[in-house]
Symmetry: C2
């Protein structure tokens, strides 16, 4: 019996694969030290034994586990494992693996192998991989589907990548409104196994218009002679194919859905969205956010080549460098002031830093509020008022603290006062900008996660320097 903890199994598989790779490397080194026919003999032996063992081990793995192992391995090992992965598993692995790694795996395969790998996939998975493989490969692979699946495929890939239409499945277990549970069951049996994640059957009329749903549990509970129309529920959450997947994520979470029907404008059943797709999206989105905040594009592969990684990071660093230059020029305006009172150079980063940090706290709250749809036109004013009040309170508190610090070190009450005022004012700026920036990014159709922090830090830095050095120039010199 194979009842087991998933983490243990996965780590064991990874350990085994790593061990086989290690053996491969050791043998390789040994062989290359040998010469002539002895080398050939050994090489042959190694290839036959070690690689066969690796190949055999990989064949037994779940595609998701294989994807995980490929993601974890450095480039060379990944290449070796991928070359030993059975072709019939390769397609499913490409579906499971993260974007950055997928690119590197696709690049390694000749077109013919890629077509063979994709040919075993169903229409949903093929739709998902549309943009990941060369067009001609994709078209050739999709020709092996039957006519119905091909037309579903054409329809689904036409929707944007983050839309429900693109992510929905065409495999829907539907039953007719007329008839009894028993008749529906007989009908279903003929059609073969139910699609994965089928928790309920969708009830349609003769024109394929959605009328309701019957849960599988209802089939077990009710008399087989009961009419479908009497057992079905009509209170169903439905989606349209052109809606963004985000709205489905919220509904699946809020109403604890397993699957939901997708209908067109005339109410006809066109597909089905299931919780596994939604959950994958949530996880991927959460990872993307981690990277986006640092200005990294898409799914940067942890083991991408040095050149690829460096290039991936340049656009953001360029933005950062430009903003740092501008902030630096703000200081440059006051070089004469600093010359007269060099203590200013020491204290000015504090004003910028405190502003940046309080502002980022506001940004985090607003970004989460936007993600959860909690911020509306009606309560935005309330939110601004609250954040301003918090910043006034914090401004007095931290301003005084920082002011006393300056006073204590430089024995100058007026320097302390200038420092306190600058912190107070910069916290106010930070609160207003911390709300305004993510809201403005959202309004203009941009992602509030990406860029909000950099824009905010730019403003709080520049304003921090400007306020502090400006006040110093006015009142200290």
């Amino acid at each position: 019996m194979q009842i087991g903890r998933p983490e243990d199994r996965l780590q064991a598989s990874l350990g085994e694969v790593t061990r086989l790779l290690e053996t491969h490397r050791v043998l390789d080194t040994l062989i290359h030290r040998q010469e002539g026919s002895r080398r050939d003999l050994l090489e042959n032996l190694q290839h036959r034994q070690n690689l066969a063992e690796l190949h055999g081990r990989l064949r037994t793995l779940h595609p998701a586990d294989l994807a995980f192992i490929l993601e974890t391995l450095p480039r060379d090992d990944r290449h070796l494992v991928w070359s030993q992965t059975p072709t019939e598993l390769k397609g499913q692995v490409l579906v499971e693996v993260s974007e950055g790694v997928r690119r590197s795996l696709v690049e390694e395969l000749p077109h013919a192998t890629l077509v063979a790998a994709l040919r075993v996939l169903d229409a949903d998975d093929l739709a998902y991989l549309k943009d990941a493989v060369p067009d001609e490969v994709w078209h050739e692979a999709s020709r092996s589907l039957d006519a119905g699946d091909q037309s579903f495929l054409r329809a689904t890939v036409a929707y944007p990548e983050d839309s429900i239409g693109h992510l929905m499945s065409g495999e829907v277990a539907d039953v007719r409104e007329s008839g009894t549970l028993q008749e529906a069951m007989g009908d279903l049996r003929q059609r073969g196994p139910l699609p994965d994640h089928t928790d309920r059957l969708y009830v349609v009329d003769v024109r394929n218009v959605l009328r309701g749903a019957v849960s599988l549990a209802d089939f077990l509970r009710h008399d087989p002679q009961a009419p479908i129309a009497g057992v079905m529920t009509t209170d169903i959450v439905t989606f349209k194919p052109d809606e963004p997947i985000d709205s489905a994520v919220k509904a699946f979470e809020r109403y604890d859905l397993i699957s939901a029907p997708v209908i067109d404008d005339r109410g006809k059943l066109v597909g089905r969205l299931s919780v596994d797709v939604v959950m994958d999206w949530v996880r991927a989105e959460s990872d993307r956010r981690t990277l986006k905040r640092a200005g990294l594009s898409g799914d940067e592969d942890l083991f991408a080549s040095v050149m690829d990684s460096a290039r991936n990071r340049w656009p953001w660093l360029m933005v950062n460098l430009l903003t740092a230059f501008v902030a630096s020029r703000v200081i440059g305006l006051f070089e004469h002031t600093i010359e007269q009172l060099v203590a200013l150079a020491t204290l000015m980063p504090i004003v910028a830093s405190v502003g940046g940090n309080t502002g980022n706290q506001t940004v985090a709250l607003v970004v989460r509020g936007l993600a959860l749809d909690q911020i509306q036109l009606g309560n935005a004013r309330y939110l601004v008022r609250k954040e301003v009040l918090v910043s006034l309170l914090n401004g007095v508190l931290w301003g005084l603290l920082v002011g006393f610090f300056a006073l204590a070190i430089y024995r100058s009450a007026s320097l302390g006062l200038v420092m306190a005022s600058a912190v107070f004012l910069n916290l106010l700026v930070a609160a207003l900008v911390g709300i305004a920036v993510p809201l403005a990014l959202q309004r203009t159709g941009r992602d509030p996660v990406q860029g909000a922090s950099v824009l905010l830090t730019f403003i709080t830095d520049s304003m921090g320097f400007l306020l502090f050095l400006g006040l110093a120039q006015m009142f200290l010199l």
Copy 2:
């Protein structure tokens, strides 16, 4: 028929509630301008009509929608809506609502009402609310459960909050190994409706040891006379109650699970984990991350009072201020140097800023790698080498760029060279620290998300100032 888009429905409900609240406020103002008996009459009228309408509207809402509405409303409106929420819904709303808002809702209810609200909940939900309500309220509410549920409840609340044992459900549809599908179905029918999210029934032996599982679809597909033991699958992913929920999240995502059995050390079935609980956790975790990165504790309520919000943000600001002070003291060491060449004050924030930003990119990659278990002892060395190479490449590139900038503005080749070297070295520091800090936090059992960024910025700031001003002192003066 109620087939409808969930977003539309929810926004419509929110709009209606907001409209009723608005009417309430307008009437309130009008009434307070009146005097004497006329005022009483109007007050009576308003209370009867408007609040009754609000109450009626709230009664028809899904608890999750009500929770959303309460989260979106400012304090006063939230108070009014909560007071008008029917008691029988209040318990379910408390389960659905986010942590920060839950606290404010619980505080408003007298103990007797709270007990009444909780009494309608099942054992899973009561376990979930254990730490959210006063102990005596919780104990009184749990007394209304039957004996079996009470003992499940005692067991489950003893596990840590983020463990599978704490989050599992006691409602498990299990069938005996011996017997046919038909017998099992008859047995199930007697026990009433199946628990939510039941995609398969767990098969146990006489000692309640898990032996396998039969999917509901299998019941429909197979001959009712087939023996359970012949139909069931034995390849099941199982969990132990003391495992952290994180390991379940990964397994649910990887293997597309709907539910999974929880077994004790002797293999006995003790509970069930379902995808809705796992998905709630993923979403909550993703939101928590957004806040944690800014040093905000738990679920800060967007509409918390000014004082609560301010206090929530102080610990982190204190840490930030301390690190800023230290960085400022590093500059203080070189006041004499700056006095001689004031341009240094203008350029030094650039060195610090470029280091902080590249370092944060590394942190983001490592944090995601850790979250996905992609970083192991074996590949950590590879990762360090790669990040160091990227930083060397970037160091040369950005160092030269920044150096030329300094040269162009201040017409000093040696200043440019010092600037370039400082940027180059600080990028190297940033890469090493960017890997080391999240790994060290993880090793010591801390959360790599919280604190990594602040620690990194602290080091890149201080080192940036130290390297730049130190090099300047050595080579320019």
